[in-house]
């Protein structure tokens, strides 16, 4: 946090924010679990459930990073913001390119993956 010698009122204000974020996080957790229940009961499609769960997780994560980790106040310092921006870019590149490359295979035949439990056939015998 930037100011080392701020007044007690400043920190009392912060404490209120910390508590508010704490409640938000717990409520968000319960919401995710509740949604999971709905997904099962009303057969919500998987992509929708995934999108929602990730949305809630990202909101929770943003709360933690912004308030608990003081990034809201610290992001003006280039050391932190540039480092973290690069990190997330490289992380995204790693995940996206890795998964793309596995699926971008000419003539990829997924049928061989069908074998577990498909009676007695072995993977190689199928071909």
């Amino acid at each position: 946090m930037s100011d080392h010698h701020a007044s007690p009122e400043y920190y009392h204000g912060l404490i209120k924010k910390f508590k508010a974020v704490g409640y938000t996080l717990i409520i968000a957790t319960l919401v995710t679990v509740g949604i999971d229940y709905f997904v099962e009961k009303y057969e919500v499609s998987f992509p929708k459930a995934l999108a929602f769960a990730m949305l809630v997780a990202v909101i929770k994560a943003s709360c933690v990073i912004a308030v608990f980790m003081h990034l809201w106040w610290d992001i003006k310092w280039k050391t932190i913001s540039i480092t973290m921006a690069c990190t997330f870019f490289f992380f995204a590149a790693m995940m996206y390119l890795t998964i793309t490359s596995v699926n971008d295979v000419p003539g990829l035949d997924n049928s061989y993956r069908k074998l577990p439990g498909q009676a007695e056939h072995s993977a190689l015998a199928d071909k």
Partner: protein, 596 residues
């Protein structure tokens, strides 16, 4: 301010504390001692890794003939795998895998990044020590433990890891010996060490620059180390994750990298399957490619320092070089799959990686061009250090340019996994990086010991090394074009009698012998260096000033060798890093901390 008074109070009780032998030389928190610890350990492993290679070269040149003298030793230590002093295929694989691992992770990186970085970076930026001295010590001891684990693995039943330094699964996982497990544990320790080191370097460079040492005034060596540290920081963790997963595959029977339907030695493997061998390759090369720049950047940094000093003029295009090295670091994270063109990758992804690979050659060329331009109109001093630095340029040039055909996926199909690849990356790392590191040893030796190494024997070392390095690696390009594959324990003798496309040209196999002799010649060429190195500690020519090379950067403005805490008074920086031959100045160099 309240804290300022505290600082002064502490100052006293730290600087006057008497240090015992253990805290001063073994568990030291002084960055210079740690740098030397790293340097000595790394040089030992450099020699060890070279020794493994020489044994392999014997097996390639004279397949299945006992090695004289060493053979008996190997048999007595390692047993059946070196029966009658002959290197078996299994032992060849062990040596091959460990040569790569040791050279990359236990020799070059610790020497270039950790040893020189630790010793020089705090001095060059005018800091009293690293940011976190105890973390620095922890980093060295994690490295040391990793080295011990890796070395011990030679002596366990079945020997050390055999699946190459890349440790591709499923091969690495399905080998029945424990060598791979040791390899993984050792790698986790080495990676931990690198991470601690990287955090420390970046924090030090950001936080502890002396007053006036702005980013634009940093010596280029510091910039190179800064980018290297970022590469280690962000590229190594995926390999650590992959290492943990492969360790799970080895010890807990999981199938992260083992596909469904895997047969081992004709038997269906007792695993669940469902894993992806490609996943290992992606995570490995996500480290593996930035690692290439981790190997080369510290050397470029050293070469820049030495060239600026020995041409007596400022580095040409300092800002361009800094920009290039930053772009290089950034791009190196998105080129990794050019190592994997032959895994059945589709056009989209292959094109992407081919494009980024071609783009990344631009900053490399900028760096090299700037260094060549720096020679123009210089008043060149031909010291041993500068000769190593100059020869780095063409050698690294050859290594870099021969990489282009490997970066295009259509030419890579022919050249992949051939001796061409070996020649290419050894040109980058052996006559490239190692020459840079030798330049650093000769250049900074007087700062570390107060004495110079012998110039005569240094030049003998230089010329012999240059000739033998090229004799080793140039013919390998030809062998690669001829289709000689890597990792053949008999040097291709099996294919000598083959017909047409399957057979290897006879001269390719004959070349093996020439290369092997050159390799042993290179070993002999290192004797002057080793003797010179130890002899000069006590008997070298004493330096008469703290700045024997008349250099501008801050590491020469300290006592020799620098005491704990480095600078007598806090240096203040007034000028750029390389103000040599400034018109109107009284001498041909202006130290960064000299007020006019």
């Amino acid at each position: 301010m309240q804290t300022a008074t505290h600082t002064e109070v502490h100052h006293d009780d730290h600087s006057h504390a008497e240090q015992s032998f253990w805290t001063k030389y073994i568990f030291s928190t002084d960055h210079k001692v740690i740098g030397i610890q790293y340097g000595v350990t790394a040089l030992v492993f450099l020699l060890f890794g070279f020794g493994l290679m020489m044994a392999m070269r014997w097996q390639i040149a004279k397949p299945d003939q006992p090695i004289p003298v060493i053979g008996a030793l190997l048999e007595s230590v390692l047993g059946n795998v070196a029966k009658d002093g002959i290197i078996s295929a299994q032992l060849y694989n062990v040596f091959g895998a460990m040569h790569g691992t040791i050279m990359v992770f236990m020799a070059i990186v610790p020497l270039g990044f950790a040893a020189f970085g630790n010793y020089i970076v705090p001095l060059q930026i005018g800091a009293p020590d690293m940011c976190f001295p105890r973390v620095n010590m922890a980093s060295f001891w994690a490295f040391f433990l990793g080295c011990v684990t890796m070395t011990v693995s030679f002596f366990i039943p079945g020997g050390a890891a055999q699946a190459g330094w890349t440790s591709y699964s499923p091969l690495a996982t399905s080998l029945p010996t424990d060598g791979q497990t040791y390899w993984l544990v050792a790698m986790v320790l080495l990676i931990t060490s690198s991470l601690l080191g990287a955090v420390n370097f970046i924090a030090t460079i950001i936080q502890l620059r002396a007053p006036g040492m702005t980013w634009g005034r940093l010596p280029f060596f510091v910039w190179a180390q800064f980018v290297t540290a970022f590469l280690l920081l962000l590229a190594f963790p995926p390999l650590e994750a992959a290492g943990v997963m492969q360790l799970m595959d080895k010890v807990a029977g999981t199938s992260f990298f083992l596909p469904t339907g895997l047969f081992i030695s004709g038997q269906p493997a007792t695993i669940s399957g469902g894993g992806s061998p490609l996943l290992w390759q992606h995570l490995f090369w996500f480290l593996g490619h930035p690692e290439v720049y981790v190997l080369i950047l510290p050397a470029i940094g050293i070469v820049t320092e030495v060239i600026a000093n020995s041409t007596r003029r400022p580095v040409w295009g300092y800002r361009l070089m800094v920009g290039a090295v930053l772009v290089l670091g950034f791009l190196s994270f998105i080129v990794w799959a050019h190592h994997m063109y032959l895994t059945g990758m589709g056009n989209k992804v292959a094109t992407f990686f081919q494009t980024t690979t071609m783009i990344i050659s631009i900053p490399s060329v900028i760096l090299l061009t700037c260094l060549f331009m720096s020679l123009w109109k210089g008043a060149i001093r031909f010291t041993t250090a500068s000769m190593f630095a100059f020869s780095f340029l063409p050698m690294f040039g050859i290594g870099g340019l021969t990489g282009l055909p490997l970066g295009f996926n259509f030419t890579d199909i022919h050249l992949h996994d051939s001796y061409y690849v070996i020649a290419h990356f050894h040109y980058v790392v052996a006559p490239g990086t190692i020459f840079g590191l030798f330049a650093g040893v000769y250049y900074w030796y007087p700062k570390m010991t107060g004495r110079k190494m012998s110039e005569y024997w240094g030049k003998v070392h230089f010329w012999c090394s240059l000739i033998f390095m090229n004799l080793i690696f140039l013919p390998m390009f030809k062998q690669g074009f001829d289709g000689m594959s890597r990792r053949m324990s008999d040097g291709g003798a099996t294919y000598a009698s083959g017909e047409g496309v399957l057979g290897l040209a006879a001269e390719s196999i004959m070349t093996n012998t020439i290369i092997s002799h050159a390799a042993w010649g290179l070993a002999i060429a290192q004797v002057p260096f080793i003797v010179n190195f130890f002899w000069s500690i006590r008997n070298g020519e004493k330096v008469t000033s703290d700045n024997p090379w008349n250099s501008t950067t801050l590491e020469w403005q300290t006592p020799t060798p620098p005491p704990h805490g480095n600078f007598i008074t806090q240096p203040v920086v007034y000028r750029d890093a390389y103000e040599y031959s400034k018109p109107g100045a009284s001498k041909d160099y202006l130290p960064q901390n000299e007020k006019v």
